[in-house]
């Protein structure tokens, strides 16, 4: 659920346009989302009258190759081909060029062996139902689907999953997204485990596209682009504009020789990733003091990517492993989500700094702070920058995160001890955290 840790983001990215600047589209406005095959384009794109623009995923001979944003007039866009050519990104042009020169991309290697798909969920049966429908529409390569019901308040999830006998249901009573992910990893029966979120709906080729990246024995994780399922309100448009989960439409191979492990989140997010199960032995489990359900609020995936890269493994981002995600609908939820990313960024740095003795994390925190303060200064001097309220939230989030990790760590350790302690045994004493 945590796509990115803006704590780590270079100041260059949020100095361009701040999320609140997206208010050019008023709250009653919506955007259309289309997947279009470039070799068979209609003359006109038709959408709802309320759609002021369209986000177009361009496919070329079936492969997703790029995107364009098109303004619409009363929900229509005519002369579509020319409009797309004017608005398409460089990834599209690279694909067009290769096609035109008769240099099609290399054929896909045979799909990897069967995998497990794990969905961690908590009390969102409506979203989950859509997710399950999408997963059941994937070609059957022998994959097993696991739903981890994380500390549910109702039986709705269990009842929903009971309708699909081919799906394995697991209940994880201890709350926390990373706790649920670890449960899925340890219960999976296959070497490769793909994760998605309950509020997502993967493309039919999603799993195959993810798995083919594991032909390199050093690739420990594969990710893909995640696009919005709907852009029906301001919060969703803002999130997408802010960067969303998108990492572009070009294949990337992250390796610590080139990418600083702290930028591991550039690879993608937990909503769209597959891991080797051997990660448990080689790198370790997800950190149960991180991500949703803890004080650190996000960052479990970013921390995992960081540790993979630091251990010398690679992460592949495959643009054909498409997933679709329903973004938060209210501005309040969006604000909390973005604030959560700041907290998580600080938390991951605190973990590296204070628990692993990594001074590089301290350096990175200073760099981040300098970038944020530069933005504040720019704003005060009326030379761009983000709105002060945004800066304040971001900076506060980073500092809260520094402290949040220690607290979350103590709580998680207490829970672990409570779980492993024999029922009849002595009650665990107060947790001091000194034994870390």
């Amino acid at each position: 659920m945590s796509p990115s840790n803006p704590c780590f983001k270079s100041s260059a990215m949020h100095s361009s346009v701040s999320p609140s600047a997206a208010s050019g589209a008023s709250s009653a406005q919506t955007m259309a989302i289309r997947e279009l095959e470039f070799t068979a384009l209609p003359e006109t794109l038709e959408a709802r009258p309320s759609d002021v623009a369209a986000l177009v995923l361009i496919r070329l001979r079936g492969r997703p190759v790029g995107q364009a944003l098109l303004p619409l007039e009363t929900g229509r866009c005519t002369g579509l081909r020319a409009r797309l050519l004017a608005a398409a990104d460089s990834a599209f042009w690279e694909a067009w060029l290769a096609e035109d020169l008769g240099l099609p991309p290399a054929p896909r290697p045979a799909p990897a062996p069967a995998a497990t798909i794990a969905v961690c969920t908590r009390d969102r049966p409506e979203d989950l139902e859509r997710c399950i429908a999408a997963l059941l529409a994937l070609p059957d390569d022998g994959q097993e689907i696991i739903i981890v019901d994380n500390a549910p308040r109702t039986e709705a999830t269990r009842d929903l999953v009971a309708r699909f006998p081919q799906i394995r249901y697991l209940r994880e009573p201890r709350p926390g997204l990373d706790v649920a992910r670890n449960r899925a990893l340890s219960e999976a029966r296959t070497e490769l485990v793909a994760f998605t979120d309950d509020d997502a709906a993967p493309d039919p080729m999603w799993l195959r596209a993810l798995l083919r990246n594991f032909d390199d024995p050093l690739v420990m994780a594969a990710t893909g682009p995640t696009l919005p399922l709907e852009l029906d309100c301001q919060a969703q448009i803002d999130f997408q504009h802010y960067g969303g989960f998108l990492r572009g439409y070009k294949r990337m191979l992250l390796d610590a020789a080139v990418t600083d492990p702290f930028l591991g989140w550039h690879a993608g997010a937990g909503v769209n990733m597959a891991l080797r199960r051997t990660v448990i032995d080689q790198v370790g489990l997800f950190d149960d003091a991180l991500d949703a359900g803890t004080k650190t609020r996000a960052g479990g995936d970013a921390d995992m990517f960081r540790r993979m890269l630091a251990a010398g493994y690679r992460i592949a981002h495959d643009p054909e492993a498409l997933n679709w995600h329903r973004h938060r609908r209210s501005l309040k939820e969006l604000g909390e989500q973005l604030h959560g990313y700041e907290v998580a960024g600080g938390a991951v740095l605190a973990k590296a700094m204070f628990h692993e003795g990594n001074w590089g994390a301290g350096l990175r925190f200073m760099l981040w702070l300098r970038g944020e303060l530069t933005l504040v200064a720019a704003r005060l001097l009326r030379r761009g920058g983000s709105p002060l309220a945004v800066s304040r939230t971001r900076i506060a989030g980073g500092f809260i995160g520094l402290r949040a990790y220690g607290i979350a760590r103590r709580i998680a350790d207490g829970q672990q001890r409570a779980e492993t302690a024999p029922r009849s045994g002595p009650v665990p004493g107060p947790v001091t955290g000194k034994d870390r």
Partner: protein, 455 residues
């Protein structure tokens, strides 16, 4: 029966790895037969010689040498070999099944055994995850090198010739005179590659001739810095022997300019500065332990440059010797082959294949696309180089030309042409870039444009 090929393996105190290498050869079901294997045990103090001689499962001969260095050992191996094809393999490269067969086939397929080609195979790092920054950098260098070698349309260069995994017909080896003993420690393979290229010997990459390089077991930062010093020495020898290639040398990029304080200091007080470099090198483990990746990479790069220049200064001795290095010989540049791509790529490829030019001047109708750089270290152009070149280096110009409809044969509508020009102008700077932060720059620009339109 005479062997069809002689496999020449120089080795120096790496018994365990050498045994693994021999195990891999013994287990290869596609191994050509008969072959001979020459182990050049160069100044070995471990029991390499005894262990190798005990291998009765392979047709091998062990030759003990007093410490000739790798180049001398390879020359000696070539002199001892009885087969018409010489295959060179390093002692830390474990060949994959079909390795020798692929080398042999590459010479037979192209019918080059008679004309003589030089066949290189790849030997990327054995998959090994390590948090060690040095190992990561090393692995990345090799990965990039062999990815480029295997890329469609790669123009072979003299720097692709590495003796770690190479095969040459004995006749060609003799004609070229083998490795130059003046390059005892480094770049003896580049130097051979350059002479081969100049002599018109085709350089070929054989995909099946693969091995895995277990460098992580043998290479340390200290060894890499010693190697940088050797490369500095070799750089001077290379410049002196092949002044026409100087602009391609690392030494050239590091030649003295302006006050050249570094170069003067190195010639005057090298041993004193070495102590400073030693202190700096002792910081590296601390940077590693504390996760100071940027500091490690910067300091290691600094030390690498230091030792390279130090090696060069040792050979040059005096600062004034820098100016005695031979100047680039003046030669009339060849006329580039002028091609009109509007005639069709197939037609152009066929012409390149016939003419084998050193340089191309590419046009599309009356539109000039580009003139390729003259690279004296690369093989002449081949037909199959053209399209990948356009894709990687000339994409925007090609797309523009295509939409301009300069051919007159295609009916591209004017509105589309305008749209493509507009879109391409924005996308062109990002062509062939990938990864952060380009993704975000481009995406933000898309959104900024949209929001400006909506406002």
């Amino acid at each position: 029966m005479d062997p069809v090929l002689s496999l020449i393996i120089p080795t120096h105190n790496r018994r365990a790895l050498l045994m693994r290498l021999l195990d891999a050869l013994a287990a290869d079901p596609g191994r050509p037969d008969p072959i001979e294997i020459l182990i050049l045990a160069d100044n070995c103090h471990d029991d390499t010689v005894a262990a190798a001689q005990a291998r009765v499962d392979l047709p091998l001969r062990v030759i003990e040498l007093p410490g000739l260095g790798p180049a001398g050992a390879r020359n000696r191996g070539a002199a001892e070999a009885r087969a018409p094809l010489l295959v060179f393999l390093d002692d830390d490269v474990i060949p994959e099944p079909g390795f020798l067969a692929a080398h042999l086939a590459a010479h037979q397929d192209t019918g080059t055994m008679a004309d003589g080609a030089m066949v290189v195979g790849s030997y990327p790092s054995a998959p090994h995850a390590s948090p060690d920054y040095f190992q990561l950098l090393l692995r990345a260098w090799w990965r990039e090198h062999f990815l480029e070698l295997a890329r469609p349309g790669h123009r072979m260069r003299y720097t692709d010739v590495l003796t770690g995994n190479l095969s040459v017909p004995a006749a060609v080896w003799d004609r070229l005179g083998g490795l130059d003993a003046a390059f005892q420690q480094a770049h003896e393979d580049y130097e051979l590659g350059l002479r081969a290229l100049t002599a018109g010997v085709p350089l070929v990459h054989a995909r099946g001739a693969r091995g895995l390089h277990y460098e992580y077991l043998t290479k340390t930062p200290a060894a890499a810095l010693r190697r940088a010093r050797d490369e500095g020495r070799a750089g001077v020898a290379f410049w002196r022997k092949h002044p026409q290639m100087q602009a391609d040398l690392r030494l050239y990029a590091m030649r003295p300019r302006g006050l050249a304080l570094r170069h003067r200091a190195l010639c005057a007080a090298g041993p004193v500065l070495d102590a400073g470099a030693g202190i700096l090198a002792r910081l590296l483990p601390g940077f590693q332990r504390r996760g100071l990746r940027g500091a490690y990479i910067s300091v290691f790069g600094l030390l690498n440059r230091y030792w390279y220049l130090r090696g060069a200064s040792e050979v040059l001795e005096r600062f004034s010797a820098w100016s005695d290095l031979p100047a680039e010989p003046q030669r009339a540049p060849p006329l580039p082959l002028k091609l009109d791509l509007a005639q069709g790529l197939g037609v152009c490829e066929a012409r390149i294949e016939v003419e084998r030019p050193l340089q191309l001047a590419l046009h599309h109708g009356d539109r000039q696309l580009t003139t390729t750089d003259l690279d004296p270290g690369a093989e002449p152009w081949r037909g199959h180089h053209l399209r990948p070149f356009l894709l990687r280096h000339c994409g925007a110009a090609w797309i523009e030309a295509r939409f301009a409809g300069a051919t007159g044969t295609e009916d591209v509508d004017a509105r589309e042409r305008e749209a493509a020009t507009e879109g391409l102008a924005r996308a062109a700077p990002h062509l062939n870039q990938s990864g952060a932060p380009w993704v975000w720059h481009e995406q933000y620009a898309q959104w900024a444009r949209l929001l400006a339109r909506l406002r």
